[in-house]
């Protein structure tokens, strides 16, 4: 179970920094196909989320696997456990 706090922070940061519509931000939403992000945005996304969560998130292998918002929440949750 992923904490609501993580979901809120991710959604808020992405909505603000990438001008995404909040109503589209469902866990199953695909970052690239549904939300219109692209691989270029990945770098900025990492930086934005690092600032929001105050820790480093530079696990490239894990980042490459992220497809949906739900994957992203799980990645943050996992990084918190490893921190």
């Amino acid at each position: 179970m992923i904490q609501q706090e993580i979901i809120d922070i991710v959604n808020r940061s992405l909505a603000e920094e990438f001008e995404l519509e909040t109503e589209n931000m469902k866990p199953e939403a695909h970052l690239y196909k549904d939300l219109g992000l692209d691989s270029l945005d990945a770098v900025d996304m990492v930086i934005v989320l690092e600032n929001a969560f105050g820790r480093k998130l530079r696990d490239e292998k894990a980042i490459l696997k992220i497809q949906t918002l739900g994957d992203l929440y799980a990645f943050i949750e996992e990084s918190r456990r490893n921190y």
Binding site: L40, D44, V46, I47, E60
Partner: protein
């Protein structure tokens, strides 16, 4: 007339990008704000002596090394004559406070031996440091063309570690740490802020080999420009790009200050990324990207004193001299320091003068805040006070240098002083920064791609500093346009 590509800026990275794209059969135009192409490389003349600005020496330029390979790919190598720096001492680091000096030789083996002699008891720290520098340098597919693939990650361990913390983990000897970090002055990001990776790119190239070019930066500029003309690239000089226009997320054209328009299918921009942000539509970049670009810090600016001497001292014959005030390198670029407490890089001019006088330059960090009062004036219109300020500074520097570097003859006559305003005015560098953006630990630098399709960025230390960094950056950017692996394989054939 519609081009395939328009390149903005004719520094090393812009010229190299234009040449590569044009070699691949594209119709290319290049737009330069200054009256002449390559203003940073070209240097200038005072009292009949030619002075270099943006190029004195470089690493990795021996036959078969990476810069040599890139130049051969570009077809300019026959117009460049290499000058090998003193292999036993390419840079002297001298600390007048206690007379300590280190003569840097080229070659890892020689450096290792020299450092072992100078720092007994520090052998394992020295060996570890040199091993990591070599390993980091060789882990970049654009510096190590022998690597089979160009796959690299965004993140590497040594990208996230500052040079200072890396060295303090290796040694408690602060002199050793200062000596190993001193080449930060060549990329302008202090050891506490710069990553081990970026340091390795610059220091690692010098540890391989050190060369100048006969005729200096001007000769390099001329070789690049000759190639550009051979390839039929159209040149718009003395024209300032004021706007980059896109429609439906695709680049369409650039607008020049006098209402001229250059249309092209694609654009490579080599101007400072912070300036770029003000030239594109607000909506063309995501807020996150805009914030990241706008947060880039600029490298330090400088004062550069050009001087004449009646003979060149041996300490400047095929070698440079660093006058090092103390061990506080993180504070070296502070404008709070009196000019006498700043580090100086001293180098001879590349062109020998037929008559008796020889030229040398003395470069020290400087900040726009020191010349703030005159910043709104155009160069020809600055008041007498500005000249007086420069004269006072020059007098102090003359006294300081002749007192602390006895080898420099008393005949030293300072002919001119360039300030942060000069660097800003001649290359449109924000705050007169010497090397583009600061490459800080953990900072992720812009990819050559932007949100606007067809608009690419290059140069300005985005990939790495100095001439080598600018050349690498141009190849990296053109790789994104032409196919990275193909371009790299073609370059490898020049190895």
């Amino acid at each position: 007339m519609k081009y395939d590509f328009v390149v903005i800026g004719s520094g090393v990275s812009g010229l190299v990008s234009a040449i590569i794209l044009s070699m691949k059969g594209n119709r290319v135009a290049i737009v330069e704000k200054a009256g002449q192409l390559a203003p940073v490389l070209k240097g200038f003349k005072r009292c009949g002596i030619y002075f270099d600005t943006g190029f004195h020496y470089t690493g990795s330029f021996a036959r078969g090394e990476v810069l040599d390979t890139y130049f051969r790919y570009l077809g300019i190598e026959n117009n460049l004559e290499k000058v090998v720096y003193d292999q036993d001492n390419f840079d002297t680091l001298y600390f007048p406070s206690d007379g300590f000096s280190l003569e840097f030789p080229s070659g890892y083996k020689q450096i290792r031996q020299r450092l072992h002699e100078k720092f007994p008891g520090e052998e394992s720290a020295i060996d570890y440091y040199l091993r990591i520098v070599e390993q980091e340098f060789n882990s970049s597919p654009y510096l190590n063309l022998k690597m089979d693939s160009d796959e690299t990650g965004f993140f590497s361990k040594y990208h996230d570690i500052s040079l200072k913390s890396f060295l303090s983990g290796l040694t408690g000897n602060s002199r050793l740490a200062a000596v190993l970090s001193m080449h930060f002055l060549l990329y302008g990001t202090e050891p506490g802020l710069s990553s081990v990776s970026i340091h390795a790119q610059v220091a690692g190239s010098l540890y391989e080999s050190v060369h100048g070019i006969k005729g200096g930066g001007r000769a390099l500029a001329e070789a690049l420009i000759r190639r550009l003309k051979e390839l039929g690239v159209d040149v718009f000089s003395g024209r300032d790009v004021s706007r980059i226009v896109s429609s439906d997320g695709r680049f369409t054209r650039v607008l020049l200050d006098e209402g001229e328009v250059v249309e092209a299918k694609g654009c490579v921009s080599s101007i400072n990324p912070v300036l770029l942000m003000s030239m594109v539509d607000e909506s063309a970049f995501r807020p996150a990207t805009r914030r990241r670009f706008n947060a880039f810090e600029h490298t330090s600016s400088a004062f550069m004193f050009s001087a004449a001497v009646d003979h060149l001292p041996p300490i400047l014959t095929r070698k440079n001299f660093f006058l090092c005030p103390d061990l506080e390198l993180d504070d070296y670029c502070s404008s709070e320091r009196h000019i006498e407490n700043r580090p100086f890089f001293i180098a001879a001019c590349a062109q020998k003068n037929p008559d008796s006088k020889q030229g040398l330059i003395m470069l020290c960090p400087g900040s726009m805040s020191e010349v703030f009062a005159w910043q709104d004036r155009v160069p020809k219109n600055r008041p007498g006070e500005y000249l007086e300020f420069k004269q006072r500074l020059s007098q102090r520097v003359k006294e300081h240098i002749t007192a602390h570097v006895p080898e420099i003859p008393d005949s030293l006559e300072i002919l001119d002083c360039a300030t942060p305003l000069t660097f800003r005015d001649y290359s449109n560098a924000p705050l007169g920064c010497l090397y583009g953006i600061k490459q800080k630990t953990g900072q992720i630098n812009p990819s050559p791609l932007t949100k606007i399709k067809g608009l690419f960025v290059t140069g300005q230390s985005l990939a790495g500093p100095g001439i080598l960094g600018a050349v690498v950056s141009a190849f990296l950017t053109c790789g994104f346009i032409l196919g990275r692996e193909n371009l790299r394989q073609e370059i490898r054939q020049c190895l």
